[in-house]
Point group: C2
Chain length 183, copies 2
């Protein structure tokens, strides 16, 4: 019944505190524990999880790796490899390789997003010309728009939209014979 006092003396926090400190949900922290990523330093007499403040760093680490595209399982493997390494120097070399690979991937991701950025800008440039368009009907006529949009080619972001093949009610496809179509 003196748990909090004892816990406070020892600098321990409960799962809710950890959650608030990291922006995660309590459930998420439970999950990390189930997957072997994080463990409470101890438990209260009644079974409450009690963590040291350093646990916050671990959760932030999880968050970082998550941002780098690691799955929780992969993080677990990283931890296992590190702690089970024969030599510290090898464990560190292992980490360096890992980080180097992720650095490549991250840079590739940046490049990809920059390409998307360009696509968006192109799309916006193209659409800018639509602002002073005097057309007063639906979008069906936009499909065959011949206005000059100041862009050499219609951007993919726009041209992909201008096609039939939109099903109002998903799921079942219609069934038309070829013969009925080819004149």
């Amino acid at each position: 019944m003196q748990d909090k006092r004892i816990a406070l003396e020892a600098g321990l926090i409960r799962v809710g505190d950890l959650a608030r400190a990291t922006g995660k949900s309590v459930r998420a922290i439970h999950l990390y524990e189930e997957l072997g990523l994080l463990q409470p330093t101890t438990r209260s007499a009644g079974g409450f999880r009690l963590y040291e403040r350093r646990a916050i760093e671990r959760v932030r680490w999880i968050d970082l790796l998550h941002g780098l595209g690691f799955s929780l399982q992969e993080m677990r493997e990283v931890l296992l490899r590190w702690w089970n390494a024969e030599l510290g120097t090898e464990a560190m070399a292992d980490l360096r390789r890992l980080f180097a690979r992720k650095l490549d991937e991250t840079r590739a991701a940046i490049t990809r997003h920059q390409q998307l950025e360009r696509e968006l800008i192109e799309g916006l440039d193209y659409l800018a010309a639509c602002r002073d368009c005097d057309q007063t009907s639906g979008t069906a006529t936009c499909v065959h728009c011949t206005r000059d949009h100041g862009v050499a080619l219609e951007p993919a972001l726009v041209s992909g939209i201008k096609q039939a093949g939109l099903v109002t009610h998903p799921s079942r496809a219609p069934f038309v014979r070829v013969e009925d179509l080819t004149h």
Copy 2:
């Protein structure tokens, strides 16, 4: 039995061709159809889906939006809104808003990845000092390493690892009383 000839004359391709042309799986294309994102122009007498070559653009569009973080459902909503718009000009304005928002998000994503890039570089810088470390035991001693790593603070990517709380066999947590700890 003259389907292919007819299809070829009409410039139609089958689902496998579309898949190869876009790098998607046939199943994926079926899914897009189920979700109302794409429809074959027609069907062969035997029920084979037949697409115009323009369908390739639509699939590429799907891929683009996917890269921008849209879910297939959201893409469907975009298409529905566009095709159901009263005025073409309004539909275009709608698109502009959408693209502008995504442009912000994409730039935010780039910034985030650049921060991660910096974290990785810091981590690698820190670990570089470990290459000529003469330590010959396991990683447990690394936890208290006092070497100069040329970095002011231990990077989060590294410090998050150096903590207990690793469960060799996941799932069940141990059960220790507080009293047993705080002597």
